[in-house]
C-alpha cells in the first residue's frame, strides 16, 4: 500500500513543470534563508501567492522546496559572514565561521550542506514511516481529545515563545480572538463586525500572516536609518568553491553525531511548537557533551557544524510528521504550511493520509526530493546570495512590501485583503516593539478555527465538560498543557529552586494515569514504566539530599525567539 502510494506520488511529482517549480522554490529558499533578517517562514509566506493557481500537489511541492532550501540557506551567511541567516543556523556559526576564517570556507560549507542533506534524508524516511502510524493513533481521538490537543499546542507555543510567559499566552489568546472575527463557519452568524459589512468575511489567513510576519519584519529592518541604506552584507563576502568530497568523508565519519543530532531534530520537530531554532542548539550542546575533544568546539571543528545542520533539517521532517498526521503545526514554519494546505482546500487530520494518500505521499516525497535539489543548487545559490547581499536593504524592503500587497490581492481578488495586510502589518510592528512574541498569535489564528470546530463537535456529542477531563487522550493532553504552562518557569528556576526537582517526576507520574485508562496492554505497560521512572527520579533526588545542581542552570534553554 505504501509503495503503491509512493509510486502514485512519483507520477504526480515527476513532471518537468513541478520539478522546475520545486527547483525555483529550493533556490529561492536557499537565498532567502541565507539573508540575515529574512526567516524561512517569511520565504514560505511570500511564495504562497505564486502557488494559488497551481494544483495542490505542485503548489505544496514548491513550498517544500522553499522550506528545505530555507533551512539549508541559513548556513551560508552563518559560515561566510558569522551572522546566521535564520535562527535555525545560530549554532552553525559557532564552528562554521571560525573554520571559514581559518582558511577552509569551502570545507565548512560542504560539511554544513551534506550534514543538512543527511539530516533531511533521515527525517524524510522517518516522515514516510512514522506519519501514517501516528495518524493511526490519531484516528482514536474523539472531538474532545482533539480540542485538548490544540489547547496543548497553544500552551506550549506560548511557553516557548520568549521570556515573558504572560505575554506569550496573551499573544496566543489574541490570535484565537482574531480567528473568531467574521461569520461563524458553522452557523453563518456575524461576530465582532462592529457594524462594518466587510468584516463579515473575517480576516483571511494569508494577509494576517504576511502582515504580522513579513510586513512588520521589513519595517523593523528599515528602522535603523543608517543600516537601511547599507547593503545586506558589506564585508565583501564572495562565492567559494564547496569541497564536496572531503565534506562527505568527514560527515559520514561522524555517523554517531549525525544520527544523534538527526534524531534530536526529529524529536524536537514532533513536539508542537518546538522548531529548528531550538533543535540546532540542543544538538550542538549534546555533540559537545559527547565529544572526546569538547575544548575544540568553538574553534572551527567539524562536529560543531554537523550537529546543528543535521538537526535543523531533521526538525522539518519531525514537524511535518505532527502536521500531516494530526493537523497540528510543529513550529511557525509548519503553521504557515498548514495555512497553505488550507488555502489549497486540504485539511490535514488523522484521516488525511488515508483519504488523500496521493497528496500526502506527494508531500513526503517532495520533502525527500527537495533535499537532493538543495545539494544540487547550493553552488548556484551561493553565487546568487553574494549578488543579493550587494543590494541595499531599503531597496529590497520597498520591493517586497509592494509584492506583499500584490500577492495578497491575488488570493481573493479583493482590496479588503490588502487593507487587512496593512492593518496587521501595523499591529505586528507595534507588538514586536512592545515585546509580544508573534509566533503564538499566528498559531492562534491558524488553530482557532480548528479548536472551535472540535469544540462544537465535542459539545454536539455531550454538553458535559467531563469528556474533556476524564477521557484518556483528553486527560493526557490536559496534563501536558498544564505542565507546559509552567515549563518556562521550570527552565528559569532549574538548578536554583528545589521544586524543580519534582517537575519531571510529577509530569511522568501524571502522564501514567491516562496510560492506565487506555485500552490494550502496551499503553498500561508504558504507564507502569512512566510511574517507575517517576519513582526513580524522586529516589535519586532524595539520595542527593534534595539538592539542586547549579550546572543544570547553565544548559541550553528550550525557547524560541
Amino acid at each position: 500500500m505504501i509503495f503503491e502510494n509512493i509510486l502514485l506520488a512519483v507520477q504526480e511529482l515527476s513532471t518537468l513543470e513541478t520539478l522546475l517549480f520545486m527547483s525555483i522554490g529550493t533556490l529561492a529558499g536557499l537565498v532567502a534563508g541565507a539573508i540575515p533578517g529574512f526567516t524561512i517562514a517569511m520565504a514560505i509566506v511570500l511564495t504562497l501567492p505564486f502557488t494559488f493557481s497551481m494544483p495542490p500537489a505542485q503548489g505544496l511541492a514548491t513550498m517544500m522546496g522553499v522550506f528545505v532550501g530555507g533551512l539549508s540557506g541559513g548556513l551560508m551567511s552563518g559560515i561566510l559572514t558569522g551572522i546566521p541567516g535564520t535562527p535555525s543556523s545560530v549554532a552553525t556559526t559557532f564552528d562554521g565561521f571560525p573554520m571559514a576564517r581559518n582558511g577552509r570556507p569551502g570545507l565548512a560549507l560542504g560539511i554544513g550542506v551534506w550534514a543538512s542533506f543527511f539530516g533531511g534524508t533521515i527525517s524524510a524516511v522517518l516522515l514516510v514511516t512514522l506519519a501514517p502510524q501516528l495518524a493511526q493513533i490519531g484516528l482514536e481521538f474523539q472531538p474532545s481529545d482533539y480540542f485538548m490537543l490544540v489547547l496543548f499546542a497553544l500552551t506550549i507555543t506560548a511557553s516557548l515563545a520568549g521570556e515573558n510567559l504572560t505575554k506569550g499566552l496573551i499573544a496566543g489568546a489574541l490570535g484565537l480572538l482574531i480567528a473568531t472575527i467574521g461569520e461563524d463557519e458553522a452557523s453563518g452568524i456575524a461576530r465582532f463586525t462592529f457594524g462594518f459589512d466587510d468584516m463579515r468575511q473575517g480576516f483571511s489567513f494569508l494577509p494576517v500572516l504576511i502582515g504580522l510576519f513579513a510586513f512588520s519584519q521589513l519595517l523593523t529592518d528599515l528602522e535603523d536609518r543608517v543600516k537601511a541604506k547599507k547593503a545586506l552584507s558589506e564585508d565583501g563576502s564572495s562565492a567559494v568553491r564547496v569541497e564536496h568530497l572531503a565534506a562527505i568523508k568527514i560527515v559520514l565519519s561522524q555517523w554517531v553525531n549525525l544520527l544523534r543530532s538527526s534524531f534530536i531534530g526529529v524529536f524536537t520537530g514532533v513536539l508542537p511548537a518546538a522548531g529548528s531554532s531550538i533543535s540546532n542548539i540542543l544538538a550542538y550542546d549534546q555533540a559537545k557533551k559527547a565529544s572526546k575533544t569538547p575544548e575544540k568546539f568553538g574553534t572551527g571543528c567539524a562536529e560543531g557544524i554537523v550537529a546543528p545542520e543535521s538537526a535543523n533539517n531533521a526538525t522539518a521532517g519531525g514537524a511535518l510528521i505532527t502536521m500531516m498526521a494530526l493537523g497540528i503545526p510543529g513550529d511557525i514554519v509548519t503553521a504557515v504550511m498548514l495555512g497553505a494546505l488550507l488555502i489549497h482546500d486540504v485539511v490535514p487530520s488523522p484521516s488525511f493520509v488515508t483519504e488523500e494518500p496521493v497528496l500526502a505521499y506527494s508531500m513526503f516525497l517532495a520533502f525527500f526530493v527537495a533535499n537532493f535539489l538543495m545539494i544540487a543548487l547550493q553552488s548556484g545559490a551561493l553565487r546568487l546570495f553574494v549578488l543579493v547581499t550587494k543590494v541595499r536593504m531599503y531597496i529590497l524592503a520597498a520591493i517586497i512590501l509592494a509584492y506583499c500587497g500584490i500577492g495578497v490581492f491575488a488570493l481573493n481578488n479583493i482590496e479588503y485583503d490588502m487593507w487587512t495586510l496593512f492593518l496587521f502589518g501595523i499591529l505586528g510592528y507595534v507588538l514586536r516593539k512592545l515585546g509580544f512574541p508573534l509566533a503564538p498569535i499566528i498559531l492562534g489564528v491558524v488553530l482557532g478555527h480548528i479548536a472551535e470546530l472540535w469544540l462544537a463537535r465535542a459539545t454536539a456529542i455531550s454538553t458535559s465538560v467531563l469528556p474533556f477531563i476524564i477521557q484518556p487522550w483528553s486527560m493526557f493532553f490536559l496534563i501536558l498543557a498544564v505542565f507546559s504552562v509552567f515549563f518556562s518557569s521550570y527552565q528559569d528556576n532549574l538548578g536554583k529552586k528545589t521544586w524543580t526537582l519534582f517537575y519531571t517526576p510529577a509530569l511522568t507520574a501524571a502522564m501514567s494515569v491516562p496510560m492506565f485508562l487506555m485500552e490494550g496492554t502496551a499503553r498500561p505497560i508504558l504507564g507502569v514504566i512512566l510511574l517507575l521512572l517517576s519513582g526513580f527520579l524522586l529516589n535519586r533526588a532524595r539520595q542527593q539530599g534534595w539538592k539542586v545542581n547549579p550546572a543544570d542552570a547553565e544548559g541550553p534553554r528550550l525557547s524560541e525567539g
Binding site: 504572560t166 520597498a398 509584492y403 500584490i406 454538553t463
Partner: protein, 160 residues
C-alpha cells in the same frame, strides 16, 4: 516613559480591549439549533484574555520602576521615521489604487518609498524610478499573464 509605566498602560489597554469585545459578544445572535452558540467560543477566549490581562497588570505593577536608560537624543518621530513613512505611503498606495490602478499606484509607492528613505539626489531619483518601474512592471506582468490574476486597473486608465 519608564518601562513600568509602559507595561501598565499596555495591560490597561488590553483590559479595556477585552471589555469592549466582551460587550460586543452580546451583539452576537443566538440560534435555536446546534449545541455551541456562536458567542460561546469567543467568550471563552475573552475570559482567558481578561484573566491574563489582569495578571499582566498585576505583574507590571509589582515590578519596580525600570532604570532610566540613556537617551540617544532622538525623538519618537525621528526614531521611527522610516516605519512611519512606510505606513503613510502604504496607506496612500491602498487609498489611491482604485483610482490609479495597481501598476501606477505600485510604481509610485516604490518610487516614493525609495526616495524617502534613500535620498533625493538627481542620480538617486533616476535609479529609484528605474527600480520602481522594472520591479512593479515585472510583478504586474507575472501576476497578470502567467498567473492570470486580474489586478485593479484603476478608474484613471479605465476612462481612457
Amino acid at each position: 516613559m519608564s518601562r513600568l509605566n509602559r507595561d501598565v498602560y499596555i495591560a490597561i489597554f488590553l483590559i479595556v480591549f477585552t471589555a469592549v469585545f466582551f460587550w460586543q459578544s452580546f451583539e452576537i445572535k443566538n440560534i435555536d439549533y446546534g449545541t455551541l452558540q456562536a458567542s460561546a467560543w469567543p467568550r471563552m477566549i475573552l475570559v482567558v484574555l481578561g484573566i491574563l490581562s489582569v495578571t499582566y497588570l498585576v505583574q507590571s505593577l509589582k515590578v519596580g520602576p525600570a532604570e532610566e536608560t540613556e537617551s540617544d537624543g532622538l525623538g519618537f518621530f525621528e526614531r521611527y521615521r522610516n516605519p512611519i513613512v512606510c505606513f503613510i505611503l502604504y496607506f496612500l498606495f491602498l487609498f489611491s489604487m482604485p483610482y490609479l490602478g495597481m501598476l501606477i499606484a505600485g510604481i509610485l509607492f516604490v518610487f516614493l518609498l525609495l526616495s524617502a528613505i534613500g535620498g533625493v539626489t538627481p542620480k538617486a531619483l533616476i535609479i529609484h524610478a528605474i527600480i520602481a518601474c522594472i520591479s512593479i512592471g515585472a510583478m504586474w506582468s507575472f501576476f497578470t499573464y502567467p498567473l492570470g490574476v486580474i489586478l485593479p486597473q484603476g478608474e484613471l486608465i479605465s476612462t481612457f
